[in-house]
């Protein structure tokens, strides 16, 4: 069984970020536990691999966190060491934002506010086809500035898409500052509820709590879409990155790479 151990995943993210001199490290770190729980305990891939018919969908609408999903796909064996260690190399396939041409990624995102609508369409397609497929969509709280997020939530509610769970990686930051400073979302849980979502809130780095919340949401009465506000810390896992928004943009040096890897050694 694949363990999807959070520190291992973060080390893979650092390996990629170092190899590609990539930004967006903190964006990926905040959703590691969310992805680990989903892939370990909830997503059903069947035996068909990343494009398998009847699979559950994991839609990363918040494309800036894609390195976390690459780390997962690496553990699944859908990406190779070569992909990780040559990140952003010439003529390589893994881009700095989610790209649907990569097996295992369901949507192209990073232009924000796209993926949730596609997830809604996938959930509606599963409903209409009479399958029991579930669709999980991860959006950022900064991404919730985008109008189509709220259009999609309205639609999901109107069409009773109880096979859709929208998870907000609520790390409290967006590119240029805190969400409160830039575009305050107020009471996000209440907002989601008022948009017709069966909503829970949880510590987004507590894997047991995430698992319980998703299980609890699945058991809720049918007919309403589900939403989970995952309170996270941007850059969680490495002390000097946590809640420091510079790590949205900062690239690793040999020194910061070594220090971060040391903190994440099990």
């Amino acid at each position: 069984m694949i363990r999807f151990q959070a520190n291992n995943l973060r080390r893979t993210i650092l390996r990629m970020a170092k190899a590609g001199s990539s930004v967006h490290i903190a964006c990926a770190f905040s959703l590691v536990e969310i992805l680990a729980v989903l892939y370990r305990q909830h997503l059903r891939h069947g035996t068909g691999g990343p494009r398998g018919k009847g699979r559950d969908y994991l839609v990363l609408s918040k494309g800036h966190g894609v390195m976390a999903q690459y780390a997962i796909l690496h553990e699944l064996g859908w990406l190779m060491d070569d992909d990780i260690d040559h990140y952003f190399g010439d003529a390589t396939r893994l881009k700095g934002l989610s790209d649907a041409h990569v097996p295992g990624l369901e949507v192209s995102s990073g232009s924000l506010g796209h993926g949730l609508s596609v997830a809604v369409g996938l959930a509606l397609a599963a409903k209409r086809a009479g399958t029991d497929q579930r669709c999980y969509a991860i959006v950022g709280d900064g991404e919730c500035n985008e109008g189509p997020i709220w259009e999609a939530l309205l639609f999901a509610s109107q069409f009773g898409l109880d096979n859709l769970t929208t998870i907000v990686d609520a790390n409290g930051y967006q590119a240029m500052g805190t969400t409160r400073e830039v575009m305050d979302l107020g009471d996000l849980t209440a907002k989601l509820q008022s948009f017709g979502q069966e909503t829970r809130a949880v510590d987004g780095h507590d894997e047991c709590a995430i698992d319980e919340a998703i299980t609890d949401l699945a058991a809720a009465p049918p007919g309403r879409p589900r939403a989970l506000v995952a309170r996270t810390v941007k850059g969680h896992g490495v002390s000097f990155m946590a809640a420091d928004n510079r790590w949205h943009y900062t690239r690793l040096t040999d020194e910061t790479y070594a220090r971060a890897m040391a903190e994440l050694s099990n």
Binding site: A100, H101, E106, V107, S108, S111, G113, H114, G115, L116, S117, V118, A119, V120, G121, L122, A123, L124, A125, A126, R128, A129, G147, P148, E151, A152, L154, F155, Q158
Partner: protein, 311 residues
């Protein structure tokens, strides 16, 4: 033409339950037959076009054949990025219908007028662009659209101008359809509502040949180059901006393959100034017959006339 559209849509939906119609709360009375015959395949996505296109992409990925309907000012222009990223990048079989293209909504002003849609969509990879002139072309275009395995934009312009053809023409992706033969010197190429005007204007120059262009992308460059080679002047007419539409597409091919004079007649890089009837706005933009004749005369004077080069 709208009846032909409705007939084709209903037939396609009845034949294939994967065909789903999504509308952004538009299409009053247009979808009465569809809702009667295929109520379960009708989805009103509300006044939320961006989400509607994303949902259509998800439905297509899940095995369905979505048809996304809106006014062309909104579908495709407002949702261009969703069409690019969610649909075209993955070559998903989504059919976009942009209704009321051009200045059809003459009394409603700039928000509802659409003279940049062809230019915008034409620059996206993988998507076909159709622009039927009458009900027969509409029927053929809908067939082409439903046979396509990738995205298609179908531009629906002024509906009640009458027929250009007497029966559905034989049409392939990319080809211009000849509707009047002539040895030149002037070749007329028009699309949508302007095919009628092209036929009427062509009567004023002996030897004129006229083609309708129901398919704007892809365009058969060999056919266009051949027209450019055989005629002294190509006049292109469209109810669309002269920037980036059919006139531009023809000019691009002409410049590369067989340089010839191309007179582009369309909306001249401007918004409508006033309100009024459709006929009034066509005059305001110089797209009525007298204005077209004047523009062609002026063009000919400027270039010193043309001589027939037709073989």
């Amino acid at each position: 033409m709208r009846n032909a559209f409705s007939r084709s849509l209903v037939a396609a939906a009845r034949a294939d339950e994967r065909v789903l119609l999504l509308t952004g709360d538009h299409g009053y009375s247009l979808f009465d037959d569809f809702r009667k015959h295929c109520p379960d395949q009708y989805i009103n996505a509300g006044v939320a076009e961006q989400n509607m296109v994303g949902v259509a992409a998800g439905l297509a990925k899940g095995g369905f054949r979505p048809v996304v309907y809106g006014l062309s000012a909104f579908v495709p222009v407002r949702v261009l990025e969703q069409i690019k990223l969610d649909v075209c990048y993955e070559e998903l079989p989504v059919l976009f219908i942009g209704d009321g293209a051009g200045v059809v909504y003459s009394t409603l002003g700039t928000s509802h007028q659409s003279t940049e849609d062809i230019a915008a969509v034409r620059s996206l990879p993988h998507i076909g662009v159709l622009s039927p002139a009458d009900e027969h072309e509409m029927t053929v275009c809908m067939d082409l659209a439903f046979e396509s395995t990738g995205p298609v934009y179908l531009r629906m312009g002024k509906a009640d101008l009458g027929n250009v053809h007497t029966a559905p023409p034989e049409l392939e992706w990319g080809s211009l359809y000849p509707i009047q033969a002539g040895r030149g010197p002037i070749a007329w190429i028009a699309t949508g509502s302007m095919v009628h005007t092209a036929l009427a204007a062509a009567k004023h120059w002996a030897g004129s040949a006229v083609w309708s262009a129901p398919c704007l992308k892809p365009l058969d460059s060999d056919q266009v180059a051949s027209i450019c080679r055989n005629y002294g002047l190509v006049v292109v007419l469209e109810e669309h901006s002269i920037c980036g539409g059919l006139g531009s597409a023809i000019t691009e091919i002409a410049a590369a393959e067989s340089p010839t004079r191309v007179c582009r007649i369309g909306v001249r890089d401007r918004f409508s100034r006033f309100c009024g009837s459709y006929a009034y706005l066509m005059r305001e933009h110089g797209l009525d017959l007298p204005s077209v004749l004047r523009q062609v005369h002026d063009f000919l004077s400027r270039i010193g006339g043309v001589r027939s080069t037709a073989a």
